[in-house]
Symmetry: C2
Subunit: 344 residues, 2 copies
């Protein structure tokens, strides 16, 4: 435990009794330095614990084999599935992931981009924070031609690929399923339609109503943060309505289940009085009683596809530029369970 300070090129130079400029040149793979001297310098640098840096990295094709991931929050089954999928591909290809959370804040996301850039990641996989609209903080990656893929929460960008599910279509199917069950007063509980996922789901919900001649009512759209607690609050809103809805389509399972449990406690029968459809197919949806009808959102597959695309791009060394692929849509499906089956 004698070494306290970080090893510098000066320490290496002193030990080998050569100039620091020679060490710097060697670490930069300058042909001026002989192979023999270089080897000596590399060996000592490793032995002394000199940290890999730009110069050392230049020797091996400027790659760290590290992929940066920025996500809003880790605390969802969907997001941990995405990361599992990414890990699997990364491991197979000899890459390592480093993950950072934006905690749904664009300011934090900006810091994350800087941190990961300075950590010398080879590319970035990003699901945007709730309040990210301007994406210029990613320009440093685009400028350096470091590949970037958006998934789930995406934005159109000429130099990035987007990986999504067809949120509009799936919301349409969920709403149509409820209409098929005889429901007419269908509530939609969702997040502020700022990120495209929520915009698209709202659009799908509206379209299904329109196609079945059901008038869209502004006060049938409830906006909250989609937490379990928000679901409990939604239950109170529902109970206070003059005419209760006969169905609720919620933009995630957590919030749907919070709402269901609170309504059940108040003696409201599910699905007989109110039918429920969630979104994500979290494991929790098969634990709540009755089991929750939901959209299976294949997070694992999304993670696999995102990481595969990024790594393929890295291996091709830009031969197939990432911006030739605009959007990849992952298959997803409506899973019908007891919570929405009024007609048994």
């Amino acid at each position: 435990m004698s070494t306290e300070k970080e090893v510098t090129i000066y320490d290496i130079a002193r030990k080998l009794n050569i100039s620091s400029a020679t060490v710097s040149r060697a670490l930069n793979d300058d042909p001026v330095v002989s192979k023999k001297t270089k080897q000596k310098i590399f060996d000592l640098a490793e032995q002394m614990g000199y940290r890999t840096n730009l110069f050392a990295r230049n020797l091996r094709n400027n790659r760290t084999n590290t992929i940066g991931v920025i996500i809003p929050r880790i605390n969802s089954f969907f997001m941990s599935s995405v990361i599992s999928g990414m890990e699997k591909v990364a491991n197979q290809s000899g890459y390592n992931l480093i993950i950072s959370q934006s905690s749904e804040s664009v300011e934090k996301e900006i810091k994350n981009v800087k941190t990961l850039y300075n950590s010398r990641v080879d590319g970035l996989l990003v699901s945007l924070a709730y309040d990210t609209i301007d994406t210029s903080h990613f320009d440093v990656f685009f400028k350096m031609r470091l590949p970037l893929i958006f998934f789930d929460r995406v934005v159109e960008h000429e130099h990035a690929t987007n990986i999504i599910i067809d949120n509009r279509k799936k919301a349409y199917e969920a709403t149509q399923h409820l209409i098929d069950q005889g429901c007419r007063r269908i509530l939609h509980v969702t997040a502020i339609p700022r990120q495209t996922v929520y915009v698209e789901r709202l659009a799908g919900y509206k379209q299904a109503l329109a196609d079945h001649n059901i008038k869209f009512k502004e006060d049938y759209v409830i906006i909250n943060d989609l937490s379990h607690r928000a679901g409990i609050e939604t239950a109170a809103i529902i109970q206070a309505m003059n005419t209760m809805p006969d169905a609720v389509f919620v933009s995630n399972d957590d919030c749907a289940i919070g709402c269901m449990i609170a309504l059940k406690k108040a003696g409201i029968r599910i699905p007989d009085d109110i039918a429920f459809v969630g979104f994500n197919n979290d494991p929790i949806s098969t634990i709540v009683e009755p089991n929750l009808t939901t959209i299976d959102y294949p997070g694992y597959e999304m993670g696999v596809v995102a990481a595969n695309n990024l790594i393929n791009h890295l291996h091709l060394n830009g031969v197939a530029p990432i911006h030739t692929t605009n959007t990849i849509i992952i298959r997803s499906e409506l899973i019908i369970r007891a919570s929405s089956l009024k007609r048994k």
Copy 2:
């Protein structure tokens, strides 16, 4: 989009018409280079997108304000709570977290340590992989006096602080609670007792039995990976027993709930036929019916304490060496719910 290659000191030197050695010296804050020249070099380096590296970092006290986190898996409520707690403290103190998963493999953990070391993190927060016994891969951090804190899955190390709950005591309380409910044939479902958390829980279970003159039976300990699926398999094992147990104490909630649901489907009444206690207090424990008795494992608090300790150490610049604190025990408690209440 013209810049393709990473900026080197040679590019900076060329633009300023000075030698690369001067650039290198300036970035290394060598007093030989004048302040004016240094400023010119710094400004151009920033403008050209030269990546922060060892040399640049030396200028600001050798810190990146980045903390590395290594965890077995993100996919648990407990672990995402831990990370939320860490993020909160890190944000307040101007630090950024980068997280990597060992996926329960020591080989992956070794790679993570290297990646985070080369990402120049200021310190490390670690929960060990399932199969980590030897911890020499962390020596590179100890050698550089970079602080390291283990949490949850820990190992005794003279230079690291451990943050844990009292697993033995809590397992004792869980088992005693079942005994108090009149249970005598109590199964313990847990992971291979390799990591101390599982060793300690098994010890607490055994001690409670011994203190109440209940004979410990080897075949009443079921070892699996504590997944939901493993819980379903455990239900099959229970049903095949000559005499069924009257209680099950499981080392997490996921597995307990998988087992409960499978037994319920087979017509076994909970808690009347078999009482259940889990571990962690995941939100899922209040969704399953009957609600699950469990140990509240305060992940958020654990994350806060871990990050606080690390950052305090960094701010004190080693004045209070981290290895003066050996172990911090976080408060946790048994939460009694319907799944274990035989005596109402």
